[in-house]
Each structure stands twice: as structure tokens, then as C-alpha cells.
């Protein structure tokens, strides 16, 4: 019986131990909450950090975080895969285009009115329709003017007098008659009677009752008031004749753009009605006032009008070329606007690409003006910039990249007195996730190299979308003799690692090598 009691109590003991264990486990989590038991008064249940600490390093958070610029090394295959194309920065004669809309206007300088200088009555009208085209010298209409006829008769009388009195020996009579005749003739010509008419008058001796008025210019009659039997006073404007062989374009330019233009700048005019046709002209005048209604400045362009295609009132598109002079430009696709910076990528040759910050000016067509940061003829990458920039950032984030040693000097091939060959192996081969041994064999023309510092860096870029950080393992190898260096290292994951091997001797990098190595094992 005793035994039974002992056993039962044992069982119950273990039950209670288990329960206590569970309770302990539960309360363990709760006990993580710090207990503050300060006597005296009500304590805040939560309080911020003391003011002192929050004042420390107030500016550290404010400093700008910018990605470092890291050179990128790409193989030829990689360059092809992402479609890298190269170009150069070049000097170009540039002009900036400003687009504006304009209207065709009659060139005021080629406008003429037809008026008569005497009053009278129009008899017949030859140019009898608005927008009729007249050539210079074409008859427009005939007019009967009593005043004119009187003057003509005066002139004829004076003519006769001068003829009869011309032989007069009396001094002054002949000349007086001639003067009278000349004065009458002058009056006629001042009244705009044509020389032909005067000659006819002289010839026939009969006054011309219907005087023909001729067109003073070639052009279109834009306004016609001359109607048969109309009384005409000298103030009456009978015709307006516009010469459209040259027209004005009134372009509306926003005030911000006006500073870039000056009279004489070339302009291209296109009209939707004539697709494919361009007219060219120049700025004649920038009108000295801003149109209050449209908030634009009117710019007057003078332009030839071959075939009279441009009709007054027509809307045209104006491309004004503001001359910018000779500038260094790169294709617009070569510039990566990474937020606050403009970057170009210099092609250093040998697959090495270096980012460079530049200052850009305005876009001109497909080009961008480089104000600062590039010299002419520098080779640059003109496509796939985004990917190269990303690669640069990924490598910078891990800090794994070892830039080519200064001795190798950019584009030129490394020129070491002792050309070292790096032979890299791993054990196991290929390496695996977990621990491995890395082995480097260094040789050059003079046999194995000893006494060098060999560093092997394994780098795998971050995969933010998959929630994986970049991994970076750096192993310093120790010398095993005969140019062989060895060291153990652990890889955090399977997959493709970028391996950089740097060989330094007395602080000088004598060789480095980059490659990709595939490690076995899961991610």
C-alpha cells in the first residue's frame, strides 16, 4: 500500500512539475516587461528618453545619404546581354529650339492703298473684286473728275498759248506761256495723272474725261471700295493692295523664353496644311510689349512666301533656333538622373566602367549639354545606364570591389614588372554552402611568388525583394610555401558568388582577379 502511495505521489509530483514548467514558460514572456518600482508618487507608465540624450548628435540623422560611386567591371558577355552601347562626348554647334504658335500676317511694309488726289466720279472699275490679284501698272478703274478735266483744259489752253506765243519775240511772253504750260502739267502729274495720259492729252489736244488709275503695286486687293458711279473724295481709300510675296509671322513667345532670342535668329515654320514643307525665316523684331491678354511677347518674323502658300491669318508652328554656340554634348540617353545627381558612365576599356557626376545644361534635341565634368572625346556609355548604376550601387553596398591599382592606370593594360598569374581553387570544388578551403597559387615568369598578402573576397549582392542581405566573406590566406596560399572560409549560401582576389606585396597591389564561382547548396 505504501508503495502505491509513493508511486501515486510521484505521478502527481511530475504532473505538478510539468504544470509549473508550463506556467514558468508562459510567465517568462511576460517577465520581459521591465518592472520599475520607484517609490513616491505616481510614475509615468511610459516616458521618452531624457532630453539630454535626444540632443546628442542632432545632425547625424540629417546628413545626406548618397550611394557611393563605385567603378563596375563587366565582362563582354554581360555588356552584350544588357545591350551596352558606347559613344563619345563631342563638341557641337548648337541651337536651342523654342516652339511657338504664330499667325501669318501681311507684311506691313508691303501694303499699299489706292486713292485719288482729286474728287470725282468713278466710271468703270476693272479691279472689281476683293482678293483679286493685280500686277503693278494694271488698270484699276477709270474716273471722271470735273476738277481734273478743268485742269486738263487749263493745261491744253496753256499748251496752245505756249505754241502760239512761243514764237513771240517779246521777251518773257514765250517763257511765260511755257511756264504756265509746265505748271499745268505739273499740277496734272501731282494729281497722279500718268505720263501716258499727259502725253495723250498733249497729242490729242482733247481733255481726257475718264482717267485710268493703275495699280501702284503687285498684290492682292485686300480691300476694295471702288464702285462704279461712286463719288470719290481725295480722302476715300479705294483699294488696299497687299504684296504677299513676303509675309510676317507673328509668333507668341512666353516671357521666360524671350531672353534666349534676338533679332536675326533663324526660324523654321511649318504649317499643318502643308505637311512636310518648311519655310524658313528670321526674327525681324521682338515686339517691345507683352500682350496682357495672352501673357506672351509677340515676335515678328519676316519670311518669303513662295507660291503664296502662307495666307494671312493662318496658324503656323514656329521653331525658333536660339543659338547656343559650341558646347560639349552627350546623347540624352547617356545621362542617368539619379535623383539629385546627373551621372554618366565612362568606358575605361577592359570592361571597366566608372560613374562620373556631371552638371548638365538644357536638352537640345536628343542631346544634353554638359556644362561640367566631361572633356571632349571621352568615351561614354549611352545605353543600359540604369543597370550599370544599379550594379555600381550593389557592389558599393557590399564594399567588395577592389578598384584596379593606380599603377594600372585606367584604360591601359596592367603593366607590372612581374606579371603574376592567379590560380584559384577551392576544396571541395565547386565550393559548398558552409565551410570550404580556398587555395591560391601565385606564379609569374620567375616561378612561384612568396611573401605576398592574398585576400579572397566572396560577395553575393543583396536581394531586397527576397529579403536577403548581401553576403560578404573576406578570407586572408596564409602562405603554405611554393607560391600556394590557403585559408578556410564559410559561405552563407549556395549560388553564384563574385570572387575578387587581391595580391599585395609590401603594401602594393601586384595583382588582382575577379571571377564568378558557383557554390553548391541551397540559398
Amino acid at each position: 500500500m505504501n508503495k502505491y502511495v509513493v508511486r501515486t505521489s510521484l505521478v502527481w509530483l511530475s504532473v505538478s512539475i510539468a504544470l509549473i514548467a508550463v506556467w514558468q514558460y508562459r510567465s517568462h514572456n511576460a517577465s520581459l516587461v521591465p518592472k520599475i518600482n520607484v517609490p513616491g508618487g505616481v510614475q509615468p507608465i511610459a516616458s521618452g528618453p531624457s532630453p539630454r540624450t535626444s540632443l546628442e548628435q542632432p545632425d547625424t540623422v540629417q546628413q545626406k545619404v548618397e550611394a557611393r560611386l563605385t567603378p563596375v567591371q563587366l565582362t563582354l558577355e554581360q555588356r552584350q546581354q544588357i545591350g551596352v552601347r558606347t559613344g563619345t562626348a563631342e563638341y557641337k554647334q548648337l541651337s536651342d529650339a523654342i516652339r511657338a504658335s504664330g499667325t501669318v500676317q501681311i507684311n506691313e511694309r508691303l501694303l499699299s492703298y489706292v486713292q485719288v488726289r482729286f474728287s470725282g466720279y468713278i466710271r468703270s472699275v476693272f479691279a472689281n473684286a476683293t482678293y483679286q490679284y493685280v500686277k503693278k501698272g494694271d488698270p484699276l478703274f477709270t474716273i471722271y473728275s470735273p476738277d481734273l478735266v478743268a485742269t486738263e483744259q487749263e493745261f491744253l489752253l496753256a499748251q496752245r498759248n505756249s505754241k502760239t506765243l512761243g514764237q513771240s519775240p517779246i521777251d518773257g511772253v514765250a517763257s511765260g506761256a511755257a511756264t504756265l504750260s509746265a505748271a499745268a502739267e505739273q499740277r496734272l502729274s501731282q494729281w497722279d495723272v500718268s505720263a501716258d495720259d499727259i502725253a495723250r492729252l498733249k497729242h490729242t489736244g482733247q481733255p481726257i474725261t475718264d482717267v485710268t488709275v493703275f495699280s501702284p503695286a503687285s498684290g492682292y486687293i485686300t480691300e476694295r471700295n471702288a464702285l462704279p458711279n461712286m463719288t470719290v473724295e481725295p480722302a476715300t481709300r479705294l483699294y488696299t493692295i497687299a504684296d504677299l510675296s513676303r509675309v510676317w509671322i507673328d509668333a507668341q513667345i512666353f516671357q521666360d523664353d524671350i531672353s534666349r532670342l534676338k533679332p536675326g535668329d533663324a526660324a523654321q515654320i511649318t504649317v499643318d496644311s502643308y505637311p512636310g514643307r518648311t519655310f524658313s525665316g528670321r526674327i525681324e523684331e521682338i515686339l517691345p510689349q507683352v500682350d496682357m491678354a495672352t501673357r506672351t511677347v509677340h515676335v515678328r518674323l519676316a519670311i518669303g512666301n513662295p507660291g503664296l502658300k502662307l495666307k494671312p491669318g493662318m496658324f503656323v508652328n514656329v521653331d525658333l533656333k536660339a543659338n547656343l554656340g559650341r558646347q560639349i554634348v552627350v546623347p540624352a540617353s547617356a545621362v542617368l538622373q539619379s535623383g539629385t545627381r546627373s551621372l554618366v558612365f565612362l568606358d575605361q576599356g577592359n570592361g571597366s566602367i566608372t560613374p562620373k557626376e556631371i552638371t548638365t545644361g538644357p536638352h537640345v534635341g536628343d542631346d544634353v549639354i554638359v556644362l561640367n565634368g566631361l572633356k571632349a572625346h571621352q568615351p561614354i556609355i549611352t545605353s543600359a545606364n540604369f543597370l550599370i548604376d544599379s550594379e555600381s550601387q550593389l557592389q558599393a553596398a557590399a564594399g567588395s570591389y577592389v578598384p584596379p591599382s593606380p599603377a594600372s592606370g585606367g584604360t591601359s593594360a596592367p603593366d607590372h614588372s612581374r606579371q603574376a598569374t592567379i590560380d584559384f581553387t577551392t576544396a571541395p570544388n565547386p565550393p559548398q554552402k558552409g565551410s570550404n578551403v580556398f587555395r591560391v597559387k601565385l606564379t609569374d615568369t620567375g616561378g612561384p611568388i612568396s611573401g605576398a598578402d592574398v585576400t579572397v573576397t566572396f560577395f553575393m549582392p543583396a536581394m531586397p525583394a527576397m529579403g536577403m542581405a548581401a553576403m560578404n566573406t573576406t578570407v586572408k590566406l596564409s602562405e603554405k610555401g611554393a607560391g600556394v596560399y590557403e585559408g578556410p572560409g564559410a559561405l552563407g549560401s549556395g549560388g553564384t558568388w563574385r570572387v575578387t582576389i587581391t595580391v599585395q606585396k609590401s603594401g602594393q597591389t601586384i595583382a588582382n582577379k575577379q571571377m564568378s564561382v558557383d557554390a553548391m547548396g541551397g540559398m
Binding site: F315, G339, I388
Partner: protein, 1064 residues
Amino acid sequence: MLSRIIDVCARNRFLVFTVVLLLTLAGIWSLQRVPLDALPDISDVQVIVHTSWAGEPPDVIEDQVTYPIVTSLLAAPHVKAVRGQTMLGDSYVYVVFEDGTDLYWARSRVIEYLQQISGRLPEEVHPSIGPDATGAGWVYEYAIVDKSGRHSLADLRSLQDWRLRYALETVRGVAEVASIGGYVKQYQVQLDPTKLLAYGIPMSTVIERVKMSSNEVGGRVLDLSGAQYMIRGLGYLKTPDDLASVSVGSKDGTPVLLRDLGTVSFGPDIREGAAEWNGEGETVGGIIVMRQGMNALNVIDGVKQKLREIAPSLPAGVEIMPGYDRSELIQASIHTLQRDLIEEAIIVSIVIIIFLFHFRSALIAIAALPIAVLVSFIPMYWLGVTSNIMSLGGIALAIGVLVDASIVMVENGYRHLAERQANNPEPVSESERRTVLIDAAKQVGPALFFSLLIIVVSFLPVFLLEAQEGRMFRPLAWTKTLAVGSSSILAITLVPVLMVILIRGRLKPESSNIISRVTQAIYLPVLRFCLRHRWFTIAVNVIFLIATLPLASRLGSQFMPTLYEGSTLYMPTALPGISIEQAKMLLQQQDRILRSFPEVASVFGAVGRSDSATDNAPLDMYDTTVMLKPRAQWPTGMTYDKLIQQMDAKLQFPGLSNTWTMPVQNRLDMELTGIKTPLGLKVQGSDVEGIQKLASQIQNVLAGMPELRSIFAEKVAQGFYVNVEVNRPEAARYGLTIADVQTAVESGIGGQSIAENIEGRERYPINVRYQRDFRDDLDAMGRVLIGTSSGAQIPLGQVARISFSNGPAMIRDEDGALTGYIYLDLANSDYGGFVSKANRLIREKLALPANYSYQWSGEYELELRAKQRLLLIIPIVFFVIFLLLYMVFHSTAEALVLIFPTVYAMSGGLLLQWVLHYNFSVAVAVGYIALFGIVVETGMVMVVYLHESLERRLHSHTTLTNNDIEEATIEGAVHRLRPKLMTVCAVLASLVPILWESGIGSDVMKPIAAPIVGGMITSTVHVLILVPVFFVMMKERALRRGTLGADHHDSTPIPSDSVAESVL
């Protein structure tokens, strides 16, 4: 009570058969209806609120949409977490509910809470809740390929959007059909600003006129000569020309038409993703998203059926190619497990036949096995457990155990009957035979029932696993429990009936069985030797134990073993800000390279996101599904790992980081916390720029810690922006408001979809914006015109400063706070220690600015949680086993003796696990838990027989000597070797097909099976050798103290009903 059941059943054959038949039929019915899937759906109960706001940058949407939604949902009932993610044009809010919340209830709550804030959101924004599905529901993807070259991408997209989509959405179980790639057709009115200026027509007028240009109305009816005519006003646009002829004003009496101000044409909408087929060129893709909890296989079959139905009506030359098909995975994995199950059943049957060497007797166990499995499907169906690798795996693990009870009973009946025939040459009468058999069944039945109960009960703690791991293993626990449960019930009902029917005729005695003779011949001398050198034996065993246990520390650990899915997902990621053109170019390159591998069946590339709320991939994320050919068609020597490595080596694109994963795994991963490194830091604050700065400071502070292998602070503010900053005094000078300027930005540069034209079944937006030349660089943008009230039009550059800047590319919003992640990778696994050390370091070196905070997170949480759970579960398992054993034997010593084999089993499991390179994971832990139960069962069978034989001696002799005890032990151990070996062999043999298997799905099952196999081997050795040794030592001690007799009265011998009775 159990004996009575056996008795009643054996005497009511008809009733038992009828019930069993009905249950079997019900089982078959359930089997056909249980939903099929590859893996259990482990996703949380979540509701996605998706808000689309075309063309708006992330920070605008975050401030005006995501933040109000997130904050309003925080306080909703049963909400565990609210995570927001905002990117260009889209806002996604994931509302995660507590486990066990009903999805539809949760959806109603979300709608309810959205209702409250609808007034606070911008007018044009309408949040909608996503489908009742998750990313894990992407079961089928297809590409629409045009071989004729006559259909544009816009045509294909229209075909997908307006025909295929709706046709496929009618398939039962499809929650949504999403489209990706191609161009969404839209009417594009491209205005020339200089003409607007020339005609003096502001953009707003154009927009207003266009808005009013496409509609149809009704005018009621007209009654005419007794007929009724319906009146309608026609006015939908028929061609872009109709739109071009819309009058937008007049100049001197002449109407100004839209065509005078620019061009009208069809064009593409802003693209959020692109799809590509086999490296052959761009295409349009469709994604079938399955409703949660549906039968994936049925859904896919339905979709395929529907596609076949649609096929004749497709435009000529258009083909629909399967880009991803999960049914292959499901079928392959189910097929693998079915084959395993059949192989197991066959192997187990062979084992039984060999051991019993009597076909009819073997038939009993063999017949009971499938019935037990089928019956277990009935509750599975009602519990909603799907048929997947895990649940079928549970059955596969149980098969060896399922036959145990029937084997032992049949063996016992066989032996009794054979003995009776051997002892008494007189032929056995029918009634006598029946009595002998029923008595034999009654003798072992209750104990067997009880031992199966131990297996069931000891496995129950698996149900204590929570969250993801719980959802993963609960189906396995269910099926295993149900199968063992149903087999234990069958053991006391059907098996006795079958015994009575089938065990008849002349039976050979056990001694004539060659297997028994050989095994006994080997076992006897070994056991004798061990009993003679007890301490030596114990020492050898202890040394073995000590030698193997340190293996535990040499094994790696992971959360879950990966499942090979027969397809791979190539997911390179670019840095944020990649343009669609660049992304597309790379996509085609990648696909072409992938397609060139002979192992690849098809490549369906996608970049960016589809129009599904379950898809939140930004444009910098690729998602290329590579369907692989069956492994048999691969070149020899090629493995999946090798293949991926070769692919990875060929796909080293600068600026991209490669990720290789598998479709199902990835979709599940994407839904979990987001931080995939074991450890992560979430930096939260009020400003993205500040978060990025703080995160990089933390990175600098922690970078020096020796435990840290790498640290990476996410660049949350690295997106590219063009800022249009209104110069307020300047704007005021022209009488312009901020809104005027911004409308110009929105409609002039961005383009506004202002109306929708209806064309039969299809609907296309009408978009108005400036011609490309007038908005494609900063200078041009400066010339976007803004109409003033005076009629003048002012260029944007005159009233605003336009500049490049950085800003958030994507915004994370967790529980209302802006968040940035820092990913950490540790060299060791002491997360707790690292976290406290890092916390100290951050506190010392860094003053957190006000409003900023950080917290630790990561998948280690899951692993840690699972580990802590297991630390709780394993002791419970042991305690439960101990308790059950104590109840059986009423002796702590004997209970302890039987617990000991489990430790021994652990060493064997470790050994095999180490040999096969399986890491520790929850799966392995589940394997161990299953192992313990089985080990205890075998130990119990052994002790039962030892007791039985000792009992017999106690009855025959009044005083026992040490020698008697030893002899009794040898008799119990050696003579009753057959049933013990049979049960062990059945378990071991049944698991061999799983370990042998290389088909799809085996990757998950192997780590579970490995510890069982390893453990069974070592524990059997232990049970066969050490248990008799301990038994002898214990009984001799009892004899010395003179308590043997009393002891035996107290601890009732097992093969009687009373124990089970007292327990039940």
C-alpha cells in the same frame, strides 16, 4: 468492455460486415471529394484592400489612401497586423486576422471599417477588397501567343480582358482571373499645347467636351399604331474619328474640332507589367487565382476544360500556352504518395505473408489495412483536411502501425489454434475453433488497442504547433491520428470477425516457420550472452548513446525542408526605378537563355504586376516561371541544384540580383513577414528619408559586430522623382491656385482617363494628355500650359520649379508607421544574445530621433517560436507516454524502462539523419514525435510477453529463483519474437519506399521518415536486448526483496482486460 466488444462483434458477423461495408463506401465517397493540393495552405487569414490610383507616385497614395485605410483597420476586431505597401499607382493593405477567424466574417469587418473612411479618401479613389484568395492560390497561368502576327498586343489583351477572363471566372473555385502584359487599349487624345494656345482653348474645356462626347440615353417609349417603340439616343464612339470630330469650341464661328488641336488614336495605357513567352517576344498572360480552400486540381481541370471549349472561337492564329500548371505538381506529388502507399501496402503484406507463412491469415491484416485508410478519409472530409503531401504522408507514416494490431491478433490466434491442433490430434470443431480464436483475440486485443492509443496520444501534441508550422503539420497529425484510430477500432471489431472466417484448416506450428526459426536461432545466443554480461551490455549501449548524441550539434537547422515542385521560379530583382522598356528588354534576354536549356519545357516570363490584388510586385521584380521537363528526360547526371547553378551562371546580368525559388514556395514566402533573412530590423518613423538615414546609421553601428556576417539596410528613399513645386507668389500673380497648376500636371503631363467608351462587351478608357514631345523632358514639361481665368495660358515652368529628386520607390506601412527593413545575417544562431548586445550598442552609440523606433523581426521568429513550442511539446510527449505507461504497469520503474528506448531511438534517428544530411526542422521533429510512440509500442509488446511468460512460471512454481526469471525472460523474448519482429519489420519496411522515393513530394516526406527508420533500428536492438536485461534485473531485485509476488498482484499482468478497462 473491450473484450465484450470483440466478443459481440465476432458473433455478429453480418452486422460488422454491413457497417464496415458502409463505412468503406463512405470512405471511397469521401476520398473522391477531399480537395487535392500539393501542400497545405499555410497562409494567414488575410484580407487585401487594393486601391488603384493610376499614375500617382507612392508618397501621394501613401498619404492620401494607404495611411487612412491602415489606421482605420488597426482597431478592427481580431486583427493581428495591418501591413500597407504603396507603389506607383497602387496601394495594397494586408489585414491579417488571428488564426481561426472566418475569412468571410473578416471580409465583412474590413468592408465595415472601410465604410467609415470612405469620405476621407480622394474622390477618384475607390478601395476594393481583393479576392477571397491569396498569392498561394495562383494555380494556373497561361500565355496568349499569336503565331500569325496579325494581332497586336492590344488585341490580345482585349481578348484576355473581355473574353477569356469572364469565361474562366465562371469556373467553380476561380476567385479571379488576372491579366498581365500587353497593352490595355485606350483612346488617346494627344493635344498640342501650342494649338491650344493659338485657339485660346484651355485643356479643361477639352476634357469637359470629351467627357460629354460618349454616352447613350433612353427616351422612354413611343406608342405608335398600337405598337410600343423604345426611344434611345445613340452616341457611343465607334471609331477614334468620332472622337476627333468632337467640337471643343469655336473660333469666329468655325467649330474647332478635337483633331485641330492634336491627334486621336488608340494607344496603350500606362503599363505596370509585361509578359514574355519562351524568349520569343512579348505576350499577354492570364493568371487563375483560386478561392481559398478549393480543390486545386478540380479548378485547374475546369479551367483547362473551359479553355478547350473556348478554343474554336479564338481568333485565327492565336494559341493559349500553359505557362504554369500546378496540377502537374499536385498530380505528381499525390501520385508519388499513392505509389508509396501502394508499395508500402504491398511490402507490408509481403512481410506479413513471410512471417505468418499462411496466406489466409495474412489476408486478414492485408484486408484491414485499406479499410482503415479509407475509413479515415470520412472524418478528413468533414474536417476539411485537404488531400496533400502532408496528409497523405501522415497515412504513409502510419501504414506500418496500422497493421500492427491485426498482425499481433492474427498471429496470436494462429498460434493458439496451431498449438491446439498440435497438442490435440483430435480435429477442432467449428465452435471450438471459434472459441479459441476469439479468446486469443480477447487476450491481446485490449493491450493492442491500448498500445495504439499510446501511439495516437503521444502524437497529439503535434496539434500544439501554431501558425505556419501548425497549418503545415496539422493535416499530417490528423490523418495519422485518424488512420491509427480507425485501425485500432477495426482491430477490435473487424479483425476478430475475419479471424473467425479465415483462420481455419490445418495450421503449421510456428516452429515450422523458417523465418521464426532463423531469427530465434540468432537471437537466442545473443540474448543469453547479454543476460550473462549485463553490465557490459549496458555499458556498450551507454557508450553508443554518448557517442551518437553529439551528432545533434553538428546538424544544421531550417524551418522547413524545401519541396521540389518540378518547376522553378527565376526572380531577379533590379533596383527600384527601372523603366518598363529596360525591364522588357532584359526579360526577353533572360527567357531566351533559359529556354536554351534542354531541361526546360517552357518559360513564361513576367515583370511587374498583374491587375490582381494578390500581386504586389513592383516593376523591378521579375517573376519568370520555368516549367521543367520530367527528370527522366534530363541528361544523365543532372540534378536540380546543378541545373540551377548552371542557369545562374548564365544569367549574370549587371544590376540584377538573382533569386531562384519555386512557385508555391515563393507565393507562400511572399505572404509571410517579408523579412526572409533569419534576423531583421524594422525601422519605423514618420518620414521615409529619416528612416533611410537612421537605418544606415544602425547599419554603421552594427557593422562592426563580430557575430554579424552581413548587414544591409534597405534603401527606402531611392526612387526617382520629378518634383513640380508650385511657386505660390508667382502663381498668385496670374490668379492661379495650387489645384490649377496640379491639374495641369495631372492631365497635361500625366494624362487623365476621363471617360469610358462602351463598345459592346468591351470598355475602353479615353485619355487626354499632351503629345509626347511636349512632356518628355523637364524643359518640355515646363511648357505645359495652364489656363488662367483671364483666358491667358501660362507655361508651368513660369509658376513652378521642376527638378529631379529622390523619394520613396515603394512605401511600407506597418500598423500605421512608415517602415524600412534592415536585413542581417548572423554567423551563429544565438539570436537572443545577439539582439540584446545589438540593442545595447545602438542605445550607447545612437540617439534615436523623436518619432523613430526600431524592432527586431524576421523568420527567426518563426523558427524560434517553433523551437519554443517543440521544447514544450517534447516534454509533454514524454510525460504523456510516461503517464500512459504508468497506468498500464503501475510501476514507475517499468515505465522508465520503456521510456528509455525512446532516448535510444533518438540516437538512431540522429545517426541516419546525419548520414542522409537532413537538417533539423519542424518536419524532423514531427518524425521524432511519431517515432517515440511507435518505440514505446514495441517496448510494450515486449514487456507484455515477458510478463506473460513470467506469469506462467509464477503460477506453476511457488518459489522462483533468479534462474527461473532469466528463463522466463528468454522464453518471453525469444519464443515470442515473431510478433515483435513482425511489427517492427512492418513499420520499417513500410517506410522504405518513402526513403527510396525520388519523385516529387519526397523531399518533404524523407526528413520525417528518416528519424523513424533510424530510430526504429536502434530502438529495436535496444528493446530486444536491453529491455530483457533491465527486466531481469528488476525482477531479481524484486525477488531479493521478496516483493515479486506482491508486485505481480499489484501490477496486473497485461494481457487482461482490466488494464485497458481501468484506463478507459
